[in-house]
């Protein structure tokens, strides 16, 4: 019987919830646990081990921690996150948000409009745009370099990490920019105006008024973009992880070992490590958000 405040019967509630919960359980929750199990087997993509995998305990993890390509991928992922997410998206997003807050008007719409455009276009298209932009012989960047008398550079070959870092900063700055812009809007304008009247310059206003006010949001932004950037697969479309693994971030390493080298079990053990890292960041995020609520 429905209660006084409840006009849906238990049966109806259950029937309404069931389809969504079943789908989530099978295709979202189950994979998270399935990967833990697969990581402990020598499951392959083809052949006898595809049908009859054996349980091999923690062997995959021992192999991973002894594989220099695993460390290579970890190292490049670390540089990628530091360069493209922290220095790129967060720092640039913050600077832009502050400058645009001061300027408003045309510049604000123009720069945020362009940043959002870079962020929203499908990843395969932006990857191809950058392959064209960075091309050694015809690419616009090298044409410009040549026009001002500098030598052409084969970016994707000679500086693959720099290329994917710059690319991903370009791709993702919009999120941080929008987040910081809306945070700045919540600071009472009188704070900033009176600081101006008292003669504080831009950097004083930034460090003494703006930064303390948006510290919590800065932390949230860093946690989120670190989590996302660690899980970005798009550089695969630019460099394929190459040349010779020099831009192979962890997601590409997982793909390569699982689907190119057919070692699904091994790929799962590395996925498990990634999943745990993700979980750590998600919990950090909840913690940061919870603290903000009580502050």
């Amino acid at each position: 019987m429905p209660g006084p405040n409840q006009f849906l019967s238990r049966k109806t509630i259950f029937a309404f919830l069931a389809p969504a919960l079943i789908l989530i359980s099978v295709f979202l929750v189950l994979p998270a646990f399935w990967v833990l199990y697969l990581g402990l087997t020598d499951q392959a993509l083809t052949g006898i081990k595809a049908v009859l995998p054996s349980f091999i305990g923690l062997k995959n993890f021992r192999i991973a921690f002894g594989d220099r390509f695993f460390y290579n991928a970890l190292k490049i992922s670390f540089i990628f996150v530091l360069g493209s997410a922290w220095l790129g998206q967060a720092l640039l997003g913050l600077l832009l948000a502050v400058f645009l807050y001061e300027l408003k008007g045309f510049w604000r719409n123009f720069v945020s409009g362009a940043a959002v455009l870079a962020w929203i276009i499908p990843e395969v298209v932006v990857a191809y745009l950058w392959i064209a932009f960075l091309d050694k012989d015809f690419g616009l960047l090298n044409q410009i370099l040549a026009a001002i008398g500098l030598s052409r550079i084969n970016w994707l070959y000679s500086h693959p990490i720099l290329a994917i870092v710059i690319f991903n900063a370009w791709r993702g700055t919009a999120f941080s920019l929008l987040l910081f812009s809306s945070a700045l809007e919540t600071i009472p304008p009188s704070y900033i105006e009176s600081a101006k009247v008292m003669g504080a310059n831009l950097s004083q206003r930034f460090f003494q008024i703006i930064l303390p006010q948006i510290r919590a949001i800065l932390l949230t932004d860093l946690i989120l973009i670190t989590l996302w950037t660690f899980n970005v697969f798009t550089p695969f479309l630019l460099t394929g992880g190459g040349p010779s693994f020099r831009s192979e971030i962890l997601p590409i390493y997982i793909w390569r070992t699982s689907f190119k080298y057919f070692k699904l079990g091994y790929g799962s053990s590395v996925s498990t490590i990634l999943l745990l890292v993700n979980l750590g960041f998600a919990l950090l995020y909840l913690l940061a958000r919870g603290r903000k609520k009580y502050a």
Partner: protein
């Protein structure tokens, strides 16, 4: 000083995008920017490429199928959650949200592939639809429950007097009232699913079943001379639905709206 910095940043954002606007209409398409009298030749080439057209159809099936499934199931679940009280309701929602942010496509590509293999769903558009839907459902439920919470219960109480049942309450009263919420969820899902590369790349093996993201990738990794004119026209058409949404949303709500749109 400040303006020079801003102008340089603006250039940095704009320059790579130029190619997408100019090359599809160029007579001599290359990786560079070559301004010629505009032509629709590249689009005519594209119209002759059978895989390209099939991929368009596949992308539409995947995106529209997933969006419809997510909106329907999430509003049903959101309604049930909004109009019921049980211990740990908020904890369940938080837990689902954690799963959806932790279990990313990258972290779960291997188990999802293996699972689809067990369910005989490899190489099927249905698998891609189900995987996308499951990934977006937690966020969609969260958003729609919020919208439904704001629908006054008086409407349902009145209908209850007329002898309506749960399904009627949902279909005739609540669902029509949460149009804006459903639109937000639909836009969010569509933009992300339309653009996604990894999930279909891993799950689909047959060329005639791939969506556009994978088809474009295959076009430019193909051996031989890449058909740049065709790829550029294809890229522009592929980006077009997202661009239309972009211009429409930013005119109507401003760029701030996009803050909640992706990720």
């Amino acid at each position: 000083m400040l303006l020079i910095f801003l102008a340089l940043i603006a250039l940095w954002f704009i320059l790579p995008l130029l190619w997408l606007i100019i090359t599809p209409f160029s007579k001599e398409p290359s990786l560079g920017i070559s301004l010629t009298a505009p032509t629709l030749h590249n689009f005519a080439e594209l119209a002759k490429a059978k895989t390209a057209l099939l991929a368009f159809k596949n992308s539409l099936i995947i995106s529209i199928g997933s969006v419809a499934l997510v909106v329907l199931l999430a509003s049903l679940a959101g309604y049930a959650l909004s109009r019921s009280e049980f211990v740990g309701k908020d904890a369940v929602i938080t837990l689902l949200l954690i799963f959806s942010s932790v279990v990313t496509g990258v972290a779960a590509m291997v188990p999802i592939y293996s699972l689809c293999q067990k369910l005989h769903l490899i190489d099927s558009l249905l698998a891609v639809i189900l995987v996308f839907s499951a990934g977006f459902l937690p966020t969609a439920i969260f958003i729609l429950k919020d919208f439904i919470d704001r629908v006054p219960r008086a409407y349902e109480e009145a209908a209850l007097v007329d002898g309506s049942k749960g399904t009627d309450l949902f279909a005739r009263i609540v669902f029509p009232l949460i149009g804006p919420g459903a639109a937000v969820v639909a836009v969010l899902c569509f933009v992300n699913i339309w653009s996604n590369f990894l999930v279909p790349f891993v799950l689909i093996r047959t060329n005639s079943r791939v969506p556009i993201s994978v088809a474009i990738y295959q076009f430019f990794t193909e051996v031989g001379v890449p058909r740049i004119g065709l790829i550029s026209a294809y890229s522009l058409l592929y980006a077009l639905p997202v661009l239309v949404i972009y211009f429409w949303v930013s005119r109507k709500y401003g760029f701030g709206f996009f803050g909640g749109l992706k990720g």
